[in-house]
Amino acid sequence: MARYLVRRFLWACVLFIAVTFVTYVIFFVVPANPARLAAGQSATPERVHEVEKFLGLDQPFYVQYLKFLKRLVLEGSMGQSFVTRQSVNEEILRAAPITASLVFGAMILVLSISIPLGIFSALRPRSLLDRAAMIYVLIGISLPSFWIGLVLSYLVGFRLGWTPIAGYCEVFSVPEAAACGGLWDWAYHMILPCLTLAMVVAGTYVRFVRAEVMDTLNMDFVRTARAKGAPERTVIRTHVLRNAMLPVVTMVGMDIGLLLGGAIFIEAVFGLNGLGGTALESIGRFDLPVLQGVVIFGAVAIIIFSLVVDLLYAWIDPRIRLT
C-alpha cells in the first residue's frame, strides 16, 4: 500500500508540472500584455516597461516558470495577482468554499435523486415511472445549464420569490459589511444553484445507475441469492446494490474533481464568485497568477479525488488489489 501511494504521489507531481507548464505556455502564446492592462490605458511605453519589470514579465517565460515553481515549492505561495496585487493563495481560499458548497451540495442532491430513481427504473423497466425518468434524463442532458439556471432563477426566485435570485452568504466568519450570513442564509442561497447543477448532472447518473442495476440483476450470483430463498428486498439491498454502485463511485469522484475546477456557467448565472467566476475574471484581465492558481487548484482537486476514488473502489471491491 505504501509503495502504491508513493507511486501515485510521484505521478501526481509529474502531472502537476505538466498541467502548470501547459497553462504557462498557453498564456504566453496569447498575444496580449498584462502589464499594459495593469499600467492602464494611457500609460507611456516606459511606464509599461517599468510595470513589466516589476511584475517580472520582462524575463523569458521559462525563467518565469521556474521562478513560479520555486516559489510554490519553497514558500507554498502562488504569487500575487497582476491586477490587485493581492495574494493568489488568499484569492483561491476565498473562492474555493463557494465552489465547494455548490459542487458538494449538488452532488448530494444528485445522488439522492438519481440512485433511487435509477434503481426503481431498473426494477420496473418500461413502466410509466421508467419512461418519465428517461424523458427527464433527456431534458436534463440536452438543456444548457445556464438556461436551466436562468429559468429557475426567474420562476422560483423572481416570480415566486421562494428563494433569492443570486448571491452567496458566508457560513463562518461573516464579514461585517455582509448583507447576509450564517447557516440558514447560506443554505437558502445555495438551494437554487445546487438544484440547477444537480438537474444537469443527475440525468447522466440516472441512466447510469439504471444500466448498472439492470446488468447486475442478470448476474449469476443474484440468481444464487434467490435460489437460497432470499426475499427480493434482501437480494436488492445486499447483493445488487453493492456491486452496481462500484462504477457510480468512480463517476462521482471524477465529477467532483472536475466540477471543483469551476462550474462557470452556474456561478455566473447566480452571481457566485467561486473559482469559476474568478477564473473567468482573470482570463479577461490577463491575470496569469490568479488563473494559474485556479488551474492548480483544479488539478490538485482532480488528482486528490481520483486517488480517493481508487482507494474507495479498492475498499469496496475486494478483488481489486492496489499495486
Binding site: 509503495r3 508513493v6 507511486r7 510521484l10 499495486t323
Partner: protein, 348 residues
C-alpha cells in the same frame, strides 16, 4: 500416410515475468507457462495436446505460431528455424500455419460478413483477383458444409456449429499445411461436436492437412489424434502414439486423467476403482521442485521425485515419459507403490 517432418519444437519455453516496483519495474517472480517442451510432427499427422487448465497448452501453440515470442528453445518449420524470425519474415510462412479457435462466438468479427471473414487471409496474402477470391470463398463454404449463398450473412445469423465451420473455412482459405485447433469443439453440443470432428477428419484426408489439436476432453483427443502429448504445469508428462497412450499409459498423471473420465456405460463406469486425484493444480508461479507433479502423485518417492527432475525419456516404441516410477502395466491401481522403489529401500 504421413510424410516428412513438418514441425520440430525443441525445449520451448515461455516465461512471463511478474514485476514489482515504484518507478523501475523489477522482476520478482516468473510464471513458467511453458517450461521446456519438445516434440516433432510429421506431415499428415495429428498431434493431440491434452491437459487441464493452466498446463500451458494454449500458450505453447501461440508460441509456435509466433503470436507470442518464445523465451527459450527453438522451433523448426520444414527444417527452417523460425524462432527468431521477425514479424515481416514470418508473414509468408503464416500462409502455412493457420488456427481454428475455441469460441465460435468470439472468434468471428460480428460486424463483418462471412465472405469477408473467410476471404480475409486471401486478401492479406495477395492471392487472386477479387472475383477469384469470392469464388474460392464460396467453394470453401461448400467444402465445410455451408450454403455458398450465405456469403453475405453475418455471424450471428448462424448457429454455434455453423460458426465453427466458418472458422474452419477461414483456416483453409490459403491452403495451409498445418492447422492448429485450440479446443474447437469444447463449446459445442455433442451432436454438433461429432459433425465438426468428422469434418476435420475428412478435410485432413482430402487436403493432406497436418493438425495440432488441443483439447481437455480425452475422448475427443482419442478420436482425432495419431500422437498424443499430455501436459502438466508447463511441461510434457508423456508423449506417445494414440493407441499406446490410451492402452498403456506410463505417467501417473495420465493414468489419473484416464481414470477420471466418466464412461458412458453404467456397469463399466461404476466397476472401475475410482482413484480420485486430490487437490488443485498448483500455482505456476511457484511450481513444485523437480518433478512438478510430485505433491499430488500417489507414487511419489521422497528424496528422488522432489530432488531430481525426470527427463522426458523413451520408454517404448515412440513412447516418451517424464517419470522416475512410470506405471508398470494398465489398467492398474495407480496408488500402488512402484516396484522399483521397494527395491531401492531394501538395498538402501
Amino acid at each position: 500416410m504421413t510424410g516428412d517432418e513438418l514441425l520440430f519444437v525443441e525445449d520451448l519455453k515461455k516465461h512471463f515475468p511478474v514485476t514489482r516496483g515504484i518507478i523501475f519495474q523489477k522482476e520478482v517472480a516468473t510464471v513458467k507457462a511453458v517450461d521446456g517442451v519438445s516434440f516433432s510432427l510429421r506431415e499428415g499427422e495429428t498431434l493431440g495436446i491434452v491437459g487441464e487448465s493452466g498446463c500451458g497448452k494454449s500458450t505453447l501453440v501461440r508460441c509456435i505460431l509466433k503470436l507470442l515470442e518464445p523465451t527459450g528453445g527453438r522451433i523448426f518449420y520444414q527444417g527452417q528455424e523460425i524462432t527468431r524470425l521477425s514479424r515481416r519474415e514470418m508473414r509468408p510462412l503464416r500462409r502455412n500455419m493457420m488456427m481454428v479457435f475455441q469460441d465460435p462466438y468470439a472468434s468471428l468479427n460480428a460486424r463483418k460478413r462471412v465472405g469477408f471473414i473467410v476471404g480475409e487471409s486471401l486478401e492479406l496474402h495477395g492471392i487472386g483477383t477479387p472475383a477469384e477470391r469470392k469464388r474460392r470463398v464460396q467453394e470453401l463454404l461448400e467444402v465445410v458444409g455451408l450454403n455458398p449463398e450465405h456469403y453475405n450473412r453475418f455471424p450471428h445469423e448462424f448457429s454455434g456449429g455453423q460458426r465453427q465451420r466458418i472458422g474452419v473455412a477461414r483456416a483453409l482459405a490459403v491452403n495451409p499445411k498445418l492447422i492448429f485447433c485450440d479446443e474447437p469443439v469444447s463449446a459445442l453440443d455433442v451432436s454438433v461436436q461429432a459433425q465438426i470432428l468428422n469434418l476435420l477428419k475428412d478435410l485432413q484426408r482430402e487436403f493432406g492437412l497436418t493438425y495440432v489439436f488441443i483439447a481437455h476432453d480425452l475422448n475427443v483427443v482419442r478420436h482425432i489424434s495419431d500422437r498424443v502429448m499430455v501436459m502438466y504445469l508447463g511441461k510434457a508428462a508423456e508423449l506417445a502414439d494414440r493407441d499406446e497412450l490410451y492402452t498403456s499409459p506410463k505417467h501417473p498423471y495420465t493414468g489419473a486423467l484416464l481414470k477420471a473420465v466418466p464412461l458412458p456405460s453404467p456397469d463399466a463406469g461404476r466397476a472401475r476403482k475410482q482413484v480420485v486425484l486430490e487437490g488443485d493444480v498448483p500455482n505456476p508461479i511457484n511450481p513444485p521442485a523437480a518433478c512438478n507433479f510430485h505433491p499430488r502423485c500417489p507414487r511419489f518417492q521422497q528424496g528422488h521425485c522432489d530432488v531430481e527432475t525426470p527427463p522426458l525419456a523413451p520408454i517404448g516404441y515412440r513412447h516418451l515419459v517424464a517419470c522416475h516410477y512410470p506405471l508398470e502395466r494398465w489398467p492398474m491401481d495407480i496408488t500402488a507403490q512402484p516396484a522399483t522403489a521397494q527395491a531401492v529401500e531394501s538395498t538402501g
